[in-house]
Point group: C2
Chain length 227, copies 2
């Protein structure tokens, strides 16, 4: 094309190390950012490749195609959140303190995992099609439910919790505001201003939400933060 005759072998990178795992991780890290930022169809493989320290060719070598890469990213962020949940130990606390701790930890975990939040949003746009395909997912959310179940059981046994407190429902509830707090920040701020998202207000909000759940679950709980 350029010249006609066979051109001499181009100068190649003459030295490098074999490190498949590092290359994979590098691709995954960049891809996580790009998919979280732009969604599945919005993300661009060429752009992801450009930002990695490797090439587009390697992305296909390791992940097959765009969807394969997306699935790997999705599993990665779920695993990340799970690890942060596993670190939490409330078995030694009395039920009331344990519940509060679980609520606040969940709130914080969501606030500190914006990539997770965005990818779950994106996955919901796709009706969880890729999540359902994944074989590792069902077990990923096990631990938080187990912890809540244990706390509820103990709380009821000691006559501290209301009979209506259900672990799955509680998890749904705690997730709802923890998730929404991050997921809808942009539109909420656009409509109502950013006052709720100052550091101070977020801390106060967390207290109030915890108090509210406690008041619903714990018999005779006094929600100081609402007075």
């Amino acid at each position: 094309m350029d010249g006609g005759a066979e051109r001499p072998a181009k100068a190649r990178k003459t030295s490098w190390k074999k490190d498949p795992e590092a290359v994979r991780q590098n691709i995954l890290a960049i891809a996580t950012e790009e998919f979280a930022a732009h969604g599945l169809s919005g993300a661009n493989i060429n752009e992801i490749a450009r930002r990695t320290s490797t090439s587009k060719r390697m992305i296909y070598y390791y992940f097959g195609d765009k969807e394969g890469l997306y699935c790997a990213v999705l599993e990665g962020v779920y695993a990340f959140l799970r690890r942060s949940e596993d670190l939490l130990d409330v078995a030694g606390l009395d039920p009331v303190k344990a519940l509060r701790r679980l609520i606040e930890a969940t709130f914080d975990a969501h606030a500190n995992a914006p990539h997770f939040i965005r990818l779950v949003m994106i996955e919901n746009i796709h009706n969880a099609d890729y999540l359902r395909k994944s074989d590792i997912v069902p077990n990923l959310n096990r631990s938080i439910i187990d912890k809540l179940s244990d706390v509820c059981r103990r709380g009821k046994a000691e006559g501290l919790f209301r009979a209506g407190a259900d672990p799955l429902e509680l998890h749904w509830l705690i997730s709802s505001f923890s998730f929404y707090n991050v997921s809808n920040r942009a539109t909420f701020s656009a409509s109502f201003g950013t006052s709720l998202y100052s550091k101070a207000h977020q801390a106060a909000l967390k207290e109030r939400l915890a108090d509210m759940v406690m008041a619903a679950v714990v018999i005779g709980h006094d929600p100081k933060s609402w007075s």
Copy 2:
């Protein structure tokens, strides 16, 4: 290209009516479905055109480009939700009943506006860029806040509500679970099953959530649904 010689004028639709408003509405309705289903980058103009009773060219004629169409869709669904909020009148109810009514109506409104939910999710993925560009948005969420403010004011004046109850925070809270209930249904179901989404369970959930908010706001409220 095909043949070489100038081909005779193709047969055109020889008769049609001028009806700009109907064409616009037809495009908007289909585009709302497509954007809600696939997102901004995921939606396909050709597919939208195919499903309308008009042509792709008309989409560009009326909306300029893909983003223009998306913005029109976004404003449409916000306006739709606003209308449903405006229909709600709680001025005649006592503060306690009024608050409960507002909570349940918001929960129902979200459950019945899946397109709105999905488009807000999509807009959050885009950091509310298009919402912020819109000039009609700031006023769109006014009415629900006004209603909550009025109820809070009356509740406190009558000594029924706690001093800490804040209208904006309450709106955030009520929105959070009402929104999450729809937005994250797919991933939540994939992880934990669909039990929370049966008709019966949804009704019970609504009661419990309302009770929980009431217990946080109304002094001495007894949350029967948690017992």
